[in-house]
Amino acid sequence: MSTMNKLNEIFCEVFDQDDLQIAPEMTANDVDGWDSLSHINLIVAVESAFKIRFNQKELLTFKNVGDLLSSIESKLG
């Protein structure tokens, strides 16, 4: 499974929507339920699923799904 597909599954679980389709340019404003508090759930879920950790500085650079995906892929090497 590609990183994007795995990330999509995480989004569906975190935001409780079965047919959610993410895209790199999507932001919190494009996903119902994605607020600053549920964002923490998303980050914890991503860290857990990919077995990676983000530092505070990295978290601040995520402006959209693409930024998050790039960071995951760079950590996975």
Binding site: D16, N29, S36, S38, S48
Partner: protein, 548 residues
């Protein structure tokens, strides 16, 4: 109450108290039909203006389509939407029909929805497709729910899951609200208590009198103002001051469909030439963390006043407002039950950092002991109000005894504690119960504890509010696991997602502390006071009733 109703008021024509009518048709009759009522700025794409005439027509269509679906006077209808024009049309349309309209925070989970829709016996709801899964999981436990309107579906999805666009095509833009008395039920908001289920705070159409007057007296709205209230319509500020008050005065409102974004927000304040801005301390504290350049590069000469509501405004936020924005930020205080501003700082009143301000016109506030005795200045006590203001709640739906328990000795007990200084300024201190105020939203520890206990691995739970620099209070959960389970990051995630999906994202613990056991007294009651003291490293006080 009756005397207040008889006061001369330009709002009320021919004894018509209908909020929907006052906010739309009455504005058109006053010559404001072509004036912009709502400027909606989506997170992507072009802004859309709706004149008062269009707001009237859109809300009329809603009144008609709801009527065709069988909704009538006294029936309960909910909106469960993120910020969108349909939110406003549906709200006003339902009120025109003399239905009771409730607004639900769009991130509520299954349990939160079930509690509110079930208790109120709601007959209809409007939502987006993304929320259908949540409703689907609880629908069989909502026998009164007759129809679901889907705001973003072009076609009906089931015989009782209906497309808004399809319904709107058949609905007439003409509707005249029936005569509506001041005591006709209007808006329903649920609020959390420290025990039991959330309580349905029911308001009446006469609330518009107080909401409108405080928008003039406190917010100092003027006819040609551009006004922006950032509150979500799921909360009382979002309906009282994000819908009713400004439109009852014919004032143009900005509404933005996206979330917090400092650059974008200040771009809106500048570009839209906002005159009065009503926001929340958490948002202001987030703004304080931004680089000053975000604000200093903006031309904000139109911005006359900034107001805040939800939690106490820290003195450092007030100082930041003066230094960086060159504006006073006025703190206001009210509750879901009060329906409108009761105590406030405001232009013309000498400012006092860290104070809630003084009561507004015709509101009598007092600091009373638990025995009902007035307390001297500077002594902490119960913040109470003399009943009789027009936006005072009518009752807690299906909970008359709970409603009556809030009134003693001729006063309404707010549940907040405060003191009054020698000059008559009130100072907020906290809650007199265990309710958690996080980012201006009241969270019941009981609700979170209940959600936690639904998780198979969790044996015991205790939830407290702890001080937080950003949120005022954060939700902290103490969790004891069944013997065979161990704390893990995966379990923490499971707990977080469960609370989010059952209660709401706001109720989700910011911190989860795994413990061997949760302290309880000998009758099994969770001793949150002890948990809080342990968390804060303070003295827990009398622990003689603590279970062995």
């Amino acid at each position: 109450m009756a005397d207040i109703m008889k006061q001369p008021c330009q709002l009320i024509r021919q004894e018509q108290y209908n909020i929907g009518e006052i906010c739309t048709r009455q504005q058109c009759l006053a010559g404001r039909g072509e004036k912009v009522a709502l400027r909606f700025i989506p997170s992507h794409g072009e802004r859309t203006d709706y004149t008062f005439s269009q707001l009237d027509a859109h809300s009329n269509r809603f009144a008609n389509l709801l009527q065709q679906l069988g909704l009538g006077e006294g029936d309960v209808f909910f909106t469960f939407l993120p910020k969108a024009p349909e939110q406003f049309f549906a709200f006003l349309g339902a009120l025109k029909l003399k239905a009771i309209v409730g607004t639900l925070f769009s991130n509520f989970g299954d349990d939160a929805l079930l509690d509110r829709l079930g208790d109120s016996g709601a007959k209809g709801i409007i939502l987006r497709k993304s929320a259908l899964k949540k409703i689907g999981r609880i629908r069989d436990r909502l026998p009164s729910l007759r129809f679901v309107i889907v705001a973003d579906s072009e076609v009906d999805l089931a015989p009782d899951v209906l497309s808004l666009n399809r319904l709107r095509e058949d609905a007439s833009p003409e509707f005249v609200a029936p005569p509506t008395t001041p005591d006709t039920p209007s808006v329903l908001h649920y609020t959390s208590g420290s025990t039991g289920k959330p309580k349905g705070v029911l308001h009446r159409h006469a609330s518009v009198l107080h909401q409108s007057r405080t928008a003039t007296e406190v917010l100092q709205l003027q006819p040609d103002d551009i006004y922006w209230c950032t509150a979500d319509q799921g909360w009382v500020t979002g309906t009282s001051y994000g819908i009713i008050a400004p439109w009852s005065l014919g004032v143009t409102q900005i509404h933005y469909g996206g979330g917090y974004d400092a650059e974008l927000w200040f771009g809106i304040l500048e570009k839209e030439r906002v005159n009065v801005w009503y926001t929340a301390p958490t948002a202001l504290r987030m703004l304080m963390r931004e680089e000053p350049e975000v604000f200093l590069k903006r031309e904000l000469s139109c911005l006359r006043h900034i107001f805040s509501v939800g939690e106490p405004l820290n003195p450092e936020v007030s100082r930041w407002g003066r230094e960086i924005l060159a504006r006073e930020i006025y703190d206001t205080w009210f509750q879901t039950e009060t329906g409108g501003i009761m105590i406030s700082n405001r232009p013309g009143l000498e400012g006092r950092d860290g104070s809630m301000g003084k009561p507004v016109l015709d509101v009598e506030a007092a600091i009373l002991s638990d025995a009902g005795e007035p307390l001297p200045d500077f002594v902490q006590g119960n913040l109470c109000l003399r009943p009789g203001w027009p936006s005072q709640f009518m009752t807690y739906l299906n909970n008359e005894s709970g409603y009556r328990s809030k009134f003693r000795g001729g006063y309404y007990y707010s549940g907040d504690t405060a003191y009054r200084d020698a000059e008559g300024y009130f100072h907020f201190l906290g809650r007199s119960d265990d309710v958690i105020n996080t980012a201006g939203h009241l969270i019941s520890p009981f609700e979170v504890e209940s959600a936690l206990l639904e998780i198979a691995e969790v044996a015991e739970s205790g939830v407290i509010g702890a001080p937080d620099d950003l949120l005022f209070e954060k939700v902290v959960a103490f969790v004891a696991l069944h013997r065979e389970h161990r704390p893990s990051r995966e379990l923490e995630l499971k707990i977080r997602l469960h609370v989010t999906n059952r209660a709401s994202s706001i109720a989700t613990p910011q911190e989860i502390v795994f413990v061997d056991a949760v302290p309880k007294n000998k009758s099994g009651k969770i001793m949150r006071r002890v948990l809080k003291a342990r968390y804060l490293g303070t003295d827990a006080g009398d622990i003689s009733t603590l279970e062995d």
